[in-house]
């Protein structure tokens, strides 16, 4: 080989090396890691509940190699509607409001989920937990978590025989209406449960599905039962107390209150969850039918807004008994324990003790479960209900007639609005 050839080769080698270095620098400069593609999830769980759910999603990412970006917010309605309006909805949203979910389904924004949970008899989910717009229509949501609401919490060291006397004294109830954007919802739960326990499931269902006027005497009776229960001071304090802290008083050294009417999820927020026990509200609420076995329940319904294979895979995972068992296990021994509507999730995966198992049993075996009425109502009706509950509580000496007339006007307007559908049934 001549020296000239070698010289040319050396030069070519140097230029080649140079090119490689420049390419490496350019590649290194892109800086942004390429996204592997994932699933975005929006739900209401924050705090301890949010952390437990994130852990479940992390487990899904590990097993399936799909990244999940989770956002938890108490202003789910506003966030979701702004994202939907801007054309960038999350892949999956978990909504506590079955009414809001129905509105999205009516607008054709939700994917059909029949492939995710097989329809038919004997399936893991009852019809209450897999809503459809019409009988035989496609399923558009699945309750991946459930809670029992017709219950009253107390310190288990307190003899159960003393509870009726305590319940009759309005000052002994722990009540908190504060809940950020949805403040007032604990009040709606009170009124709903009073109506359910006083009038039974058929009246409740008629009212929750928009068939019964707010001015109906039976509805007014439920409102007045609630208002007359509390003294002025309890009502006033309830307005400015956050629902997350209201029940702490149950376990204080010198308890300022002894009973709390709140859903099963609240146990997780108590300072000493192990000391909490519950009775069904029918035994304690004023003028309730003491033999009532109707239970108000709530569900967190997952729905797919962007139908991608990854989103479906996560939906299948969230709805599966295996994932829910893991969810239960992940929160075992912790404060925020989840319960499930899926009959295939064993009871022992839903709780650490007899109290948890009683809740899980009630959710699984109760003959008469009714969805939270305000959650099932159209959004506008629900918000008006929440605000009316707050207004009524600010002065319980005033009769609720005026408020009920206003609510009735809202109901009448919404009866003809196809974009704000009422559910056809809320009890299963």
């Amino acid at each position: 080989m001549s020296a000239a050839t070698r010289s040319r080769q050396a030069t070519a080698a140097v230029l080649g090396l140079w090119l490689v270095v420049l390419c490496a620098l350019t590649a290194g400069d892109t800086g942004v890691r390429q996204s592997r593609g994932g699933v975005t999830v929006l739900a209401t769980w924050t705090g301890a509940e949010g952390r437990a759910f994130r852990e479940l999603l992390d487990a899904f990412t590990r097993d399936h190699g799909i990244h999940v970006d989770y956002q938890g917010t108490t202003a789910l309605r506003e966030v979701l509607s702004s994202e939907v309006d801007s054309g960038t909805p999350p892949d999956i949203a978990v909504l506590p409001s079955s009414g809001e979910l129905a509105a999205y389904a009516r607008q054709g924004l939700l994917a059909e989920l029949d492939g995710v949970v097989p329809a038919g008899r004997g399936t893991a989910y009852g019809g209450l937990w897999t809503p459809r717009l019409r009988a035989g229509g496609p399923v558009y949501g699945i309750a991946v978590k459930a809670d029992l609401k017709s219950i009253v919490w107390f310190d288990r060291h307190r003899p159960a025989s003393t509870l009726p006397a305590l319940a009759a004294d309005g000052r002994r109830w722990c009540v908190g209406m504060g809940g950020d954007a949805t403040s007032g919802w604990p009040g709606t739960d009170w009124i709903e449960d009073l109506l359910l326990q006083q009038q039974g499931r058929s009246v409740y269902q008629e009212w929750a599905t928009g068939g019964l006027p707010w001015t109906d005497p039976r509805v007014e009776r439920a409102w007045r039962s609630w208002g007359s229960l509390f003294g002025k001071d309890t009502a006033r304090a309830a307005l400015t107390t956050d629902f997350r802290t209201a029940g702490a008083g149950l376990f204080a050294p010198d308890p300022p209150c002894a009973l709390e009417h709140q859903g099963s999820f609240i146990r997780g927020g108590y300072p000493r969850p192990a000391d909490a026990d519950f009775v069904f509200s029918a035994g304690l609420l004023p003028r309730a039918d003491r033999r009532s076995t109707a239970r108000e329940v709530s569900g967190d319904f997952a729905a797919v807004f962007r139908d991608t294979p990854r989103a479906r895979e996560l939906m299948r995972y969230l709805a599966s008994a295996d994932a829910q068992r893991a969810w239960g296990r992940k929160t075992a021994g912790r404060s925020a324990h989840p319960f499930f509507a899926n009959r295939d999730v064993p009871l022992d995966a839903q709780g650490d003790d007899a109290v948890d198992r009683r809740i899980a049993t009630a959710l699984r075996d109760s003959a008469s479960l009714c969805l939270d009425a305000s959650d099932a109502m159209p959004t506008r009706m629900r918000l008006a209900f929440q605000r009316a509950a707050l207004t009524y509580l600010s002065d319980t000496t005033e009769r609720p007639d005026g408020l009920l007339r206003s609510l009735e006007k809202v109901r009448r307007r919404l009866r003809g609005d196809p974009d704000q559908p009422w559910l056809s049934t809320v009890c299963g």
């Binding site: 620098l25 975005t40 600010s394 002065d395």
Partner: protein, 309 residues
């Protein structure tokens, strides 16, 4: 082939290799710092200031609303012009922040969530106004609004703090010298001194073998190496300004005067842009350097081409 020709071929190859390495390293080292000045000025600064401005405006909006509702002019002023201005500032800053955040997709989604929460927050404040004659309800709605802003978990300001922490982390990465850049800037003098040494030695060799006082091509190439000194000074100055900008943007109270902070950062970073432009001259200089070396040595190599073996 004669020993001299073989030496010259090897030397040419060595000079070109070291030139390529030195210039590439210089390019990487210079670019590594200068590109950050653009990233800090064009992306991090507005993103951080928008989140800070939104935070400050929201805090202010609550103070203003509380002041108005507890004052005696609510009947004619409503919630007050100051409240509306603050809320509008917060909304605009958030809308901008959603577009320009440097915290990536999680931060963008978090800001969208905050925008939704702010909408609820303003609605709750309005409810306090609507119920202004009912002291219990007014106080209740104000307490809900405050909780939405400042609860310990999942509140609006907490979410903004988390986004800001993420953005400040990106800023930290943009303005810190880092081990890779440190290595590159350690290598630059080593490689350029090696190149200067090789060029000097080649000059010495040529003087002895070809009886010429100076090879002008190689002398020019050696002189060109001095250009690395101003580049190093520019880099030092740019890095100094980057750190100064980071200190300015990391202060707690930047949201109260976003405009002033933006101007301060712009003033700090002003001279760094033309310096950053020098990055384009490095490959040109490198090519010139290689051409000078080839021009200086190739004729000497060619002188041996037709000699008998």
């Amino acid at each position: 082939m004669s020993g001299t020709r073989a030496f010259l071929v090897r030397r040419l190859a060595a000079l070109l290799v070291v030139t390529a390495l030195a210039v590439s390293t210089l390019l990487a080292a210079y670019y590594g710092v200068s590109r950050n000045s653009a990233a800090v000025t064009d992306r991090s600064t507005p993103a951080i200031l928008q989140v800070a401005a939104a935070t400050e405006a929201l805090r202010g909006s609550y103070r203003e609303a509380e002041g108005s509702l507890n004052g005696s002019t609510t009947d004619v002023e409503g919630l007050g012009e100051n409240y509306r201005t603050r809320l509008s500032t917060a909304g605009q800053s958030l809308a901008q922040a959603v577009k320009s955040t440097t915290g990536g997709e999680p931060a963008r989604r978090s800001l969208l969530t905050v925008a939704g929460l702010v909408s609820s927050y303003s609605d709750i404040i309005e409810q306090a106004y609507v119920n202004r004659d009912n002291a219990n309800l007014r106080a209740a709605y104000l307490s809900y609004a405050r909780t939405m802003l400042e609860r310990s978990d999942g509140d609006i300001l907490g979410r903004l703090r988390a986004v800001q922490a993420r953005q400040l982390h990106v800023l930290e990465e943009q303005t810190s010298f880092g081990w890779l850049l440190s290595c590159a800037w350690l290598l630059v003098p080593v490689l350029f001194l090696t190149l200067a040494g090789l060029l000097g030695h080649t000059q010495y060799f040529l003087r002895h073998h070809f009886r010429r006082l100076v090879n002008p091509w190689l002398a020019t190439a050696t002189a060109l190496l001095v250009a690395v000194v101003p580049l190093a000074v520019f880099t030092y100055q740019t890095q100094d300004r980057l750190e100064s900008a980071r200190t300015t943007l990391s202060a707690d109270d930047i949201g109260s005067d976003s405009g002033g902070t933006a101007k301060e950062v712009a003033d700090t970073m002003r001279d760094t842009h033309w310096r950053a432009g020098a990055v384009g001259w490095i490959p040109v200089g490198g090519t010139a350097l290689a051409a000078l070396i080839v021009a200086g040595l190739q004729p000497r190599i060619d002188e041996y081409r037709f000699q008998p073996r």
